[in-house]
Symmetry: C2
């Protein structure tokens, strides 16, 4: 790391516009067997219905987004901006059988937005046709931006970051729900996406897991710039400080976000961390303590304002008991972002 | 992060051989005005003299490595494996005036090793000539490897990691000195490089600051694989848990390294962290506590075995006082890796 700085070298920062997606979307779900395979499409439909204008399904498709059926051509006529590949084929790869659809989409004048590992510009000939037609091929997983090294400087405005006891337990949906609730109260708030699904839902953001290591915190700083004093950026968390594979990403995201408020997300039924063996889910008390300790480096006044519990695996009675017991034990508002009133945690956030 | 795993997708892992450098080196220092500009060359000369066979200087050069003067052709005749660009021009860029030298080097059958930001294969025509001649262009800063996501699994063998209160205060030299001292005692030990200068010195490693965020800990796991029970990997630290730009890298490196022993590196004269404003250097007690807390996630038995002090800015008396006082206060062996006996800290490491 030394040499970069002794040379006064700084990678350039591209224009933020390179990650703005063109709405509304025609949602492509292929021959998806179930909602899980098409969860990107369902996420956009649920959280950004105003960004969706139609769906396109192939024979054998088992899911229905309850949107008008369209082709790329009819969607273009209806004002669509992009075709969104809203389905995850096995291995994250682009199926050869989709190639003709991609050319048809570009011909119709739509951008293509993909969250797959495969790069759209690796489809032979597609990039040339897109350039000729003046449309964009947007690989959300492969950001073309460069970022600056973080400065650690305080920025104006308010920031909330969702953190978790593990990966994949509700940090994105908690941030989306809190953004919507803040806006419903008349508070100026933006959801700031740090993962591909969040970016597709909100139309902008940074796929933080694809940023080069030295620039994680810098990318997080870029994501929530200076803002009016009463504006809230609600930042989607990633990973967990307790996960042996991803804690580095989480640390950089916390430091760059310099959150005023943390919301801790947790799945009470999960006893072991995902994708690793031998790592038990940490206690909420330990998770609160470590997240605050790390976050204080860039914002000494950070506080935890609530606990978001993923109770999707519980019946109504169990959910009520767990929320009540956790609130009493932690002395913090506890809620399920998809099931509970958010009034109490909003009061705590804005306090 | 979710989608990658739900698709059971894992990036491939290339063969480790892709980062093995071909020694001995012809060290190119250009027209370096001072040792600082050519510190990569001086580092290799100091720590791996057996990997150096000659130097090449341009008119106006002010430094001398005290190695035979050679051209690429005469170095090739003498058995050299690579020309090493051991000098950092302003901005990390390759100077156009060096182009003819690069072609001459490739023609002579030498690999070229560069730690510059500029990529050797961006020199028009060079990659084609290198391919024809069967030699490699090695951009140490731009690893071509992919890594697996970390597993968090315990590996066999012993590991020591140098950590610091800040960046750029002696973590690499501490690790190099401890490796040499362990070997001098007959202990099986390898230096594991995580930055470009370390890689060039030791001939292998991972430029951790260039790894994609999701794979930091995975790259660190790859770097120190399973080993015999009494073998020590001595791993070069990066950044600091207290640095708002780099703590994410440090966290991933600690978790993936799963160190048995930490050596905390510190510069007693540094009051503020480098490259940021408003971040004081942490107290040694706080640095010991936080590094242990983070490291315990992947190795609950981790311990701190010593404090490495960079006393390069002190006279003999000041150095002695600081080392003595710090040792008494921290109840740990304290040493300057370039000035002190390492017997006491070695005893503590091997205890």
């Amino acid at each position: 790391m030394l040499k970069r700085r002794s040379n006064s070298y700084r990678p350039r920062m591209d224009t933020p516009s390179s990650l703005q997606l063109r709405a509304p979307y025609l949602l492509f779900v292929g021959d998806a067997a179930d909602e899980q395979v098409a969860k990107t499409a369902f996420g956009v439909r649920e959280w950004a219905p105003e960004r969706c204008c139609g769906q396109m399904r192939l024979p054998g498709c088992n899911v229905d987004l309850r949107l008008p059926e369209m082709t790329p051509a009819s969607a273009a006529t209806a004002g669509a901006g992009s075709l969104l590949l809203g389905v995850a084929p096995p291995g994250g790869m682009l199926l050869p059988s989709w190639h003709s659809l991609l050319f048809e989409t570009v011909d119709a004048g739509l951008d293509i937005v993909s969250g797959l590992h495969f790069r759209l510009r690796e489809v032979p000939g597609l990039a040339a046709v897109a350039a000729r037609r003046g449309v964009s091929l947007v690989d959300v997983r492969h950001p073309r931006q460069s970022f600056r090294v973080a400065t650690g400087k305080r920025r104006s405005g308010k920031r909330l970051l969702t953190v978790g006891t593990d990966c994949a337990l509700g940090k994105k949906y908690t941030a989306l729900a809190l953004t919507a609730a803040l806006r419903a109260r008349g508070v100026s708030a933006d959801f700031r996406a740090t993962g591909q699904t969040g970016i597709i839902i909100s139309g902008a953001g940074v796929a933080l897991d694809a940023v080069v290591a030295d620039f994680i915190a810098g990318a997080a700083e870029w994501l929530s710039p200076d803002a009016p004093a009463d504006h809230w950026d609600v930042i989607e968390g990633q990973g967990s400080l307790f996960h042996p594979a991803y804690a580095g990403v989480t640390t950089g995201l916390i430091h760059g976000s310099q959150p005023d408020v943390l919301i801790l997300c947790h799945d009470p039924l999960r006893k072991q961390l995902r994708w690793v063996d031998g790592y038990p889910t940490p206690a909420l008390e330990d998770a609160v303590a470590l997240n605050l300790m790390i976050a204080r480096l860039t914002n000494p006044r950070v506080r935890v304002a609530g606990i978001s519990l993923n109770t999707s695996g519980m019946n109504e009675e169990h959910r009520h008991d767990v929320l009540t017991e956790t609130a009493a034990r932690m002395q913090l508002p506890c809620f399920d972002p998809l099931k509970s009133s958010l009034d109490e945690v909003l009061d705590a956030i804005l306090a």
